[in-house]
């Protein structure tokens, strides 16, 4: 079996001052090629002014099955939100 091109995740900064956001992935042999392909695939309509490519294998994701144990502890902590507190009329807080 011939060796497959590795997978890369693509992140785009749509405008100066904004963070890079994940837009998709592609296959490429090395960072330079991944960058070229990302430019061709994801920025044909000026969607971005800066690109990051990261080997998909280097991304570690949380597991769907762990979601409850992982995220539920934040559920009952409503006091972390400003809306939990009453603000007296006429005061800016």
């Amino acid at each position: 079996m011939s060796k497959n091109l590795p997978l890369w995740e693509v992140f785009l900064r749509s405008r100066r001052g904004l963070e890079h956001k994940h837009v998709g992935s592609l296959h490429a042999a090395d960072p330079e090629q991944a960058m070229q392909y990302a430019r061709d695939v994801y920025t044909r309509r000026l969607e971005g002014c800066s690109i990051w490519v990261v080997r998909s294998a280097d991304i570690h994701a949380s597991q769907e099955g762990d979601a409850a144990a992982f995220f539920d502890p934040a559920e009952d902590k409503v006091y972390r939100h400003a809306s939990f507190y009453d603000v007296p009329d006429g005061l800016k807080l």
């Binding site: 900064r13 100066r16 001052g17 800066s50 006091y79 507190y85 603000v87 007296p88 005061l91 807080l93």
Partner: protein, 322 residues
């Protein structure tokens, strides 16, 4: 690599300033004058250190909070401050300085942190006063910094401001409960306001006329509003808040000025400000000891996790089972 000539640098600086004048953000890989980079590293790491050291005065009250509700809230707040430290350290690291270097500078005393955290938290009312005043002052400053010219710093500020608003409200809620409580509780609230008011005003830094880096920082839009402007904004908003509580701001010169459309207020004790910055505040020593202890006592944990990760890596690459 050839070093750019002076002409080339002048051109780069010109283009850099034009980008800033157009309100475009500067991003990590962009060319920037070395002084801009150094200025940011100083300001952002100082800010990060302040978030981290700022956990200490309030942290002392987590075990002594009067109710379970208050304990959970205070814990969540202090936890947020740790997060703020992390956002800021990582934003600072985009400028090419390492977290370890920054920590070393703090522990060696060559980097500063906000002088306010060198004051002690004597009563529960201090926890209320810190949330109300200290976080309130921090927000005034941080809202302004959401428009700072360095992208990673601005984005960290946006995230932090979103989280900060609960800090002020929980502090003000504590003050409200005390101010409506027994005579003793009201006295406690007033005493906290008396002790925290002036150090809070000092948080905004020296007067604009005495501020060493101010002019350049404003031109580079690292700072968007001056120390005195921000301080004035804080004073103006605090007066109605203190009034609602029925507490007196400890400043006889505090008075509405119709022509300025602002409150006039008294002069800060700048000798005290400098002394606390120079290490002579009531808790400077204690705070640094706490940070040093935390750093030393966690060292073996960092070492152990690294050693374990390395062992796992070797094990999976050689395919051996232990």
């Amino acid at each position: 690599m050839a070093t750019p000539s002076n002409v080339a640098i002048a051109e780069l600086e010109e283009a850099f300033q034009q980008r800033i004048d157009r309100e475009e953000k500067i991003e990590p890989k962009d060319w920037m004058p070395d002084a801009y980079r150094q200025n940011l590293i100083r300001q952002m790491s100082q800010h990060a250190h302040s978030e981290v050291v700022g956990q200490l005065p309030e942290g002392e009250w987590i075990t002594r909070a009067p109710t379970l509700r208050r304990k959970a809230i205070l814990l969540a707040k202090v936890q947020d401050e740790a997060g703020h430290g992390l956002y800021l350290y990582s934003a600072t690291e985009t400028l090419g300085v390492s977290r370890e270097e920054l920590t070393e500078q703090l522990l060696a005393g060559s980097a500063k942190y906000a002088s306010i955290f060198n004051y002690p938290t004597l009563t529960w009312a201090d926890v209320g006063a810190i949330g109300w005043l200290v976080d309130g002052a921090a927000i005034v400053n941080q809202i302004s910094l959401c428009r700072t010219s360095y992208g990673p710093y601005a984005r960290a500020m946006v995230r932090i401001c979103k989280e900060e608003s609960f800090h002020v409200r929980q502090g003000y809620e504590i003050m409200t409960v005390l101010a409506r409580g027994s005579a003793e509780q009201r006295a406690m609230a007033q005493d906290a306001l008396d002790r925290w008011w002036w150090p809070t005003l000092m948080m905004f830094g020296p007067h604009d006329t005495d501020s060493a880096h101010s002019g350049r920082s404003m031109r580079w839009k690292i700072k968007r509003q001056s120390n005195d402007e921000l301080r004035q904004k804080f004073v103006d908003q605090s007066v109605a808040q203190a009034e609602f509580l029925g507490l007196a701001i400890p400043d006889k010169a505090l008075k509405w000025n119709d022509t300025r459309n602002h409150f006039d207020f008294g002069e800060i004790d700048w000798d005290e400000f400098r002394a606390v910055l120079d290490g002579e505040g009531p808790c400077n020593h204690e705070r640094m000891e706490a940070r040093r202890k935390a750093d030393e006592e966690a060292r073996w944990i960092r070492g152990a996790t690294l050693a374990y990760a390395e062992k796992e890596r070797v094990r999976s690459s050689t395919g051996t089972e232990s």
